[in-house]
Point group: C2
Chain length 241, copies 2
C-alpha cells in the first residue's frame, strides 16, 4: 500500500442513489488506516438524489442526468476537490463527459472493480455482472473485462427484472430486506453458468447483499462501493486498513 | 409526522469525527420515507476531519476548532444549505457562535436528543449522559435536561477514561470492536445509579454500541446521531419512516 501522505479534498458526486453515496463516504472512513480524526481523508459529499434516473434516460427516453451531473462536478471542483469519485456505475456511461468537465482526476468505478478482482487473485474466466438495465444492456463492463482477459456474462433478459431491477429499487426505497433474496438468486444463476466471480455492478447491490451474507455464497463477490473507495484512498496515497 | 414537502439542501458540518459525519448522512437516507432516489433529501456533507479536537481545546489548551467550524458553516451556507446539522455533540459548546454565523436554521443536537427522549415516552427521572470529557465537564446537557424536568447524571471522574474516552478513541481509529465492552459497562454503571435512560451523547458512541447490541441492555438508549437525523428530517418537513 502507498505511504501515507496528506492528501487533498476528495469530492464525491453522490445521490445516485443517496444510500450508496452516503455509504460510500462511510466506507471511505472505515477503510482508512488512521488513529484519530485528523488522520482521516477530508471528503465533500454532494448527495443530490434529484439527478434524473440514469437507466430511464438511456433506455426509456427520460430526461438526461448529464446537466445535473455536470453541475455537481463543477461544484465539487470549485469547492476545492483534488479528485472526484462517482459512486454510481450507470453514471459512468457518461464518464468521458464528466471527466473532461474538470481539471482533476476522476476515478472510474469499472476500472476500480477490475483492479479489485485482480487484487483478490481472480486472473481470468467468466465474470458475472449484475447492475441496472442500462449498465447491462449498454455493456458498460464488457470492454474493460475483455481487455483484462475476463469473459463477461450477465443475467438473461428475463432475469433482469427480478434479480437486478427489483432489488435495486427496494434499496432505493429503504427496503433492503426485500432486496436480499432476489439479488442472491441472481448471483446463484450466474454461478450456475460458470462465473468464477460476480460483480455487484450497481452501488445499490452491496446494500442488497450486505457483507454478513456474502461468505455463505461460496463465490468471490466484488463490491463496487468498496472497490471505488479503495481506489480513491490509493489515489490520495492513504494507507488502507 | 409532518407531511412530505420538497425541502431545500441540508448542510452537514461533519468530520467530528468522520465516521459519525458519514454515518449521519447514511441515517438521514435510511430514516426517510421514500420510494425512489428523487424523493430523498439533498444533503451536502462537508466531512472535514482536520478540524482541531474539541475536548483538547476546551480542557487542555489545544488549538480552537472554532475558526475551522465557522469556515465550514459559511461554506455550507454559500453552497445553498437551507438548514445545517452538526453531528458532533462537543461542537455544540460553540453553538451560539456557529448559529449566529449563518442566516439559516441550525439544528441543536442536545435539543434533538431531548425531543427523542420525550418521543420515546421518558417523562422524568435520572438520565445518564455519556460523552467526551468536555461535554461532561462543561455540563453541555445539564441545563437542557433540567429544563425538561430530567435529572442528569454522568460517569464518575475515574470512570470517564475507560467508559467514554477509550471507546470514543477506538471508534475514531476504526476499531469499533474495541469500543463495545467499555461503552456498555459505562451504560451499566449509570443504570446501577438509577438512570431510566442513557444518552449516547457523543456521535462516536452509537457506533461503539450498534443497534443490534442495544436491546439486550434493558434500558432506553438515546442515539444522538439518529435523534439529530430525525430532527433534521422534521425540519425539512419530510416523512420519517
Amino acid at each position: 500500500m502507498a505511504v501515507e501522505q496528506r492528501g487533498g479534498l476528495v469530492g464525491v458526486l453522490g445521490g445516485m442513489g443517496p444510500a450508496a453515496g452516503a455509504y460510500f463516504a462511510y466506507r471511505m472512513v472505515q477503510l482508512t488506516s488512521a488513529d484519530c480524526d485528523q488522520e482521516h481523508v477530508p471528503v465533500l459529499l454532494r448527495n443530490d438524489p434529484r439527478i434524473p434516473d440514469r437507466s430511464a434516460a438511456k433506455l426509456r427516453g427520460g430526461p438526461s442526468p448529464l446537466p445535473a451531473m455536470l453541475e455537481g462536478m463543477r461544484f465539487l471542483r470549485a469547492s476545492g476537490a483534488q479528485c472526484i469519485a462517482i459512486p454510481c456505475n450507470t453514471a459512468h456511461i457518461w464518464y468521458e463527459e464528466l471527466r473532461s468537465s474538470v481539471d482533476v482526476p476522476v476515478l472510474h468505478i469499472v476500472r476500480s472493480v477490475i483492479e479489485d478482482l485482480q487484487d483478490r487473485g481472480v486472473r481470468g474466466g467468466r465474470i458475472g455482472v449484475m447492475g441496472t438495465p442500462a449498465t447491462l444492456r449498454l455493456g458498460l463492463y464488457d470492454k474493460f473485462l475483455r481487455d483484462a482477459a475476463f469473459e463477461p456474462i450477465v443475467p438473461k433478459d428475463e432475469e433482469i427484472e427480478r434479480f437486478c431491477i427489483e432489488p435495486i429499487a427496494a434499496v432505493k426505497a429503504n427496503r433492503p430486506g426485500d432486496a436480499l433474496a432476489g439479488a442472491v438468486e441472481g448471483v446463484r444463476r450466474l454461478m450456475d453458468r460458470g462465473a468464477v466471480a460476480v460483480i455487484l455492478g450497481c452501488t445499490e447491490l452491496p446494500l442488497a447483499i450486505p457483507s454478513s451474507e456474502r461468505a455463505g455464497l461460496g463465490i468471490c463477490l466484488t463490491d463496487s462501493i468498496d472497490a471505488l473507495a479503495l481506489a480513491t484512498l490509493k489515489a490520495c496515497r492513504r494507507r488502507v486498513s
